[in-house]
């Protein structure tokens, strides 16, 4: 019985150490830089290809901040939801 308890204890420790070793994204979130979405202000959005996954990803990442920042170059009067829809449509198409 004592041996079984010892085995369970060792197995528990091994499981715990594996959990600690895993690369947990939340651990890195504390040290991570904020995305510099202000840099998107200087980009010419008329030249941005919204079918490009890089631009779609950037729009997704900065969507919350962009609304706070207000209008950007080349986007005056544009409906931001168009970009959201384009990204969503492409994403669904690929799945």
């Amino acid at each position: 019985m004592k041996t079984l308890q010892q085995l369970l204890f060792v197995a528990g420790l091994a499981g715990l150490s594996l959990t600690v070793q895993a690369h947990d994204p939340k651990e890195h979130m504390k040290d991570s830089e904020k995305p510099n979405c202000e840099a998107m202000k200087d980009m010419d959005h008329e030249k941005m290809d919204m079918n490009n996954p890089v631009h779609q990803a950037m729009m997704k990442k900065c969507m919350a901040q962009m609304h706070d920042m207000g209008e950007m170059k080349g986007m005056e009067g544009q409906d931001h939801s168009q970009h959201k829809d384009a990204a969503k449509e492409k994403s669904e198409h690929q799945h």
Binding site: A22, H23, E33, P35, P53, Q56
Partner: protein, 184 residues
């Protein structure tokens, strides 16, 4: 078996034993220059490189590649992992070198450099396999412990797009935020 054949076999055995003893003696002697700043002979380099490439090609041939490597979700998932795990050795836009690229031998490939033509299935299989399994005695670790296949495929997706990223695009895509786009 006549007497001549027997003595020839004995001779061969002695030669083989001497060669083995020579190899063992060399291994134990400490004469091999193991320092990373001492480059391989061109022939040794070719042999090791060919061994590596053939091994990876054989081992990765049957890996099936997901169809969504071009999705923005993959880039957003793979970017922060690339930045935390790979950029020190494989660099990032507007960074031409690091202590690792200068000191590691063989030097890690600069993944920000543009590739010629479209990325093939074989190339995706190769990149995935290398990230997952690593490469012995090269400084490239296996990232399988602690990272599932999905996370590794997202890194592959990000690496495919890395050469076209500017420094500011890289910064945005690699910062780690929660699902709502907020950093902590």
């Amino acid at each position: 078996m006549n007497k001549n054949t027997f003595s020839c076999a004995k001779c061969l055995l002695v030669v083989i034993l001497l060669i083995l003893a020579g190899i063992l003696g060399f291994v134990y002697s400490g004469w091999y220059p193991i320092g990373a700043d001492n480059k391989h002979h061109a022939l040794t380099y070719w042999a090791l490189e060919t061994l590596r490439e053939r091994s990876i090609a054989r081992a990765s041939a049957d890996i099936s590649v997901p169809g969504d490597l071009d999705s923005p979700e993959r880039l957003l998932a793979g970017g922060p992992d690339y930045h935390e795990m790979c950029s020190g050795c494989h660099l990032q836009p507007a960074k031409a070198q690091s202590d690792f690229t200068l000191g590691l031998y063989p030097a890690p490939p600069n993944l920000t450099e543009a590739k010629s033509g479209q990325i093939s299935t074989t190339e995706n299989q190769r990149t995935f396999w290398i990230i997952k399994h690593g490469i012995k005695a090269s400084g490239m670790p296996s990232w399988a412990p602690g990272h599932d296949d999905e996370r590794i495929w997202s890194m592959v997706a990000f690496i495919n797009r890395l050469p076209e990223l500017s420094a500011s695009e890289y910064q945005i895509l690699t910062s780690r935020t929660d699902d709502n786009g907020h950093a902590h």
